[in-house]
Symmetry: C2
Subunit: 318 residues, 2 copies
């Protein structure tokens, strides 16, 4: 049976051109660029809580890194380095081979060096710490939203929640629809390019991992403001639109997790610049409402009525 | 029942004077010092693999951070920032309160800011990523050992392995002896001051987490050299010396894990400087042998005979 050190070498050691020293010592070494702050974020994924234990390991590898890359995007940071810790019940080289393939596919897509980590025996658990760079003082914090700012969302919301609901038989989708929604759930596309472009435009940003209402709620709380948003303006895919009559469909749009789109605020005079950015990036950017001075989050329904917000997101201990 | 965000706030959010932005956003932000490299290391600890699930949470909190601080010491880096991810089967506020007390005791002892992390539901698992600083080009790597360098070890070896063996009834200790050895196992003292002082002195360094022979073996492999070491010169506590006749006692000294002392190499002409450093730090530093050009590790026994090395350390998948 392969040993820990062999596993690291076989599946996870690659050249790390962005590091002074990569995997294989007591620590990795990186040389930060001048005048840049380092942004750091950690996410832990646990089998049974965040993913099904029998999920395709290649897709899991992608997602494990992608959810962390998304945090860099939400800060307006350029992701550069990551560490990966894995606990595995037993050595399964097929699983490791496929997992590392997906992980490095994401690393390659975003030019990230895997510079360290840990492998050990235990219930299937994954932890990534990601590091990126942003010019000093330019990071997109949650606390910068101002009254009258417009609120924007990238891409479409709800597809990932639809996939999960269909896989759990809580909603009915055709096979083709499920495949499309599963891609959103299992292979999220972090919005790094958008985050970088928003450094000069947005006043705050967050990635939508726990659901729009919950994540926007964090921005409102951190900024000491409120918001009015409009259900009709929240972007959703054709599939989601097609199934809006199904029970829970609306809550999946406003409170479904795992979308990994960005929600950001910007002054009204940036509206045209954001429309142009949308064209340049070929990425839908939708204005869904405004920041208000009253510290509450109000959701207007399809006939402009005020909707009762019950489900505000996902909490791993709820 | 408390929610994830409340837990983070209640037990893990403290002021972070060394960070531009601490816990509570998509990422933390740090501003590295000029001309410093950042050293980064991650360690994952799993209940049942690395610790007993019923271990005193306060001691576990200390050790969870301390084993990572030890990696910084082994690089000659000054630890400054850490992230902590915790998976917990259920919310246990008593456990969290005690765990965070031990964790921050270690953080305070070494002036480390907890700047981020994750809390989630799952089998009890802990992951720390630690970051420190070292002047560019000055880190103590594993690859720098030169032929004829002397090999040194800090403190004493074997106490932690003795404690574990006694707790598993593989060895017999008195209650008082067990308490002393348990302190080594459960509250290791990372050798940060030593690591910093060795920047100008040592050619390589590693911390002894997997056992002397295994960890020295990593240095030899990375440096492309061999070593001769002498059992009589390997430092051990009075308790370990007193029980040397017990079965496995010698393997606990040379191959027991969890000591978190430093093993380092230095040119012979630094011998006196290291003796003086030992006095200055009030820390035992023992020369245990020499680096050789033949790429093998030879252990001389108490009558200078060559010993057969079978147990070279601890592997979590062995």
């Amino acid at each position: 049976m392969a040993k820990e050190f062999d596993l690291i070498s076989k599946y996870f050691t690659r050249v790390t051109p962005q590091a002074e020293l990569g995997i294989g010592d007591d620590a990795a070494l990186i040389k930060p660029s001048n005048a840049m702050d380092i942004a750091i974020s950690s996410d832990m994924l646990v089998a049974g809580t965040h993913f099904f234990a029998d999920v395709d390991p290649e897709k899991l590898g992608w997602k494990t890194l992608a959810v962390n890359v998304s945090d860099m995007a939400a800060m307006g940071a350029l992701p550069r380095w990551a560490t990966l810790s894995i606990a595995l019940p037993e050595i399964d080289e097929t699983w490791l081979s496929r997992f590392s393939k997906g992980f490095f596919a994401c690393a390659d897509a975003f030019n990230i060096d895997l510079i360290g980590g840990d492998t050990t025996r235990g219930p299937l658990t994954l932890n990534v710490t990601i590091m990126g760079e942003t010019p000093h003082g330019w990071a997109l914090k949650r606390s910068g939203a101002n009254v009258d700012d417009e609120i924007w969302v990238s891409g479409t919301l709800g597809d990932a929640a639809f996939a999960l609901a269909a896989m759990q038989n809580r909603i009915i989708l055709t096979g083709e629809e499920l495949n499309i929604c599963r891609a959103a759930l299992e292979q999220p596309q972090p919005r790094v390019e958008l985050g970088l472009a928003l450094r000069n435009i947005a006043t705050s940003a967050i990635d939508i991992s726990d659901g729009l209402l919950a994540d926007l709620g964090h921005v409102l709380k951190a900024s000491g403001v409120g918001a009015k948003i409009h259900l009709n303006q929240i972007p959703r895919s054709e599939i989601v639109s097609h199934h809006l009559q199904q029970e829970q469909a609306i809550s999946m749009i406003v409170a479904g997790g795992d979308d990994y789109e960005l929600c950001f605020t910007a002054p009204k005079n940036q509206h045209d610049a954001i429309d142009k950015l949308s064209q340049k990036l070929a990425l839908r950017l939708s204005c869904i409402g405004n920041i208000t001075s009253t510290p509450s989050l109000i959701l207007h329904g399809k006939d402009d009525e005020i909707m009762n917000i019950k489900e505000t997101g996902f909490d791993h201990f709820a």
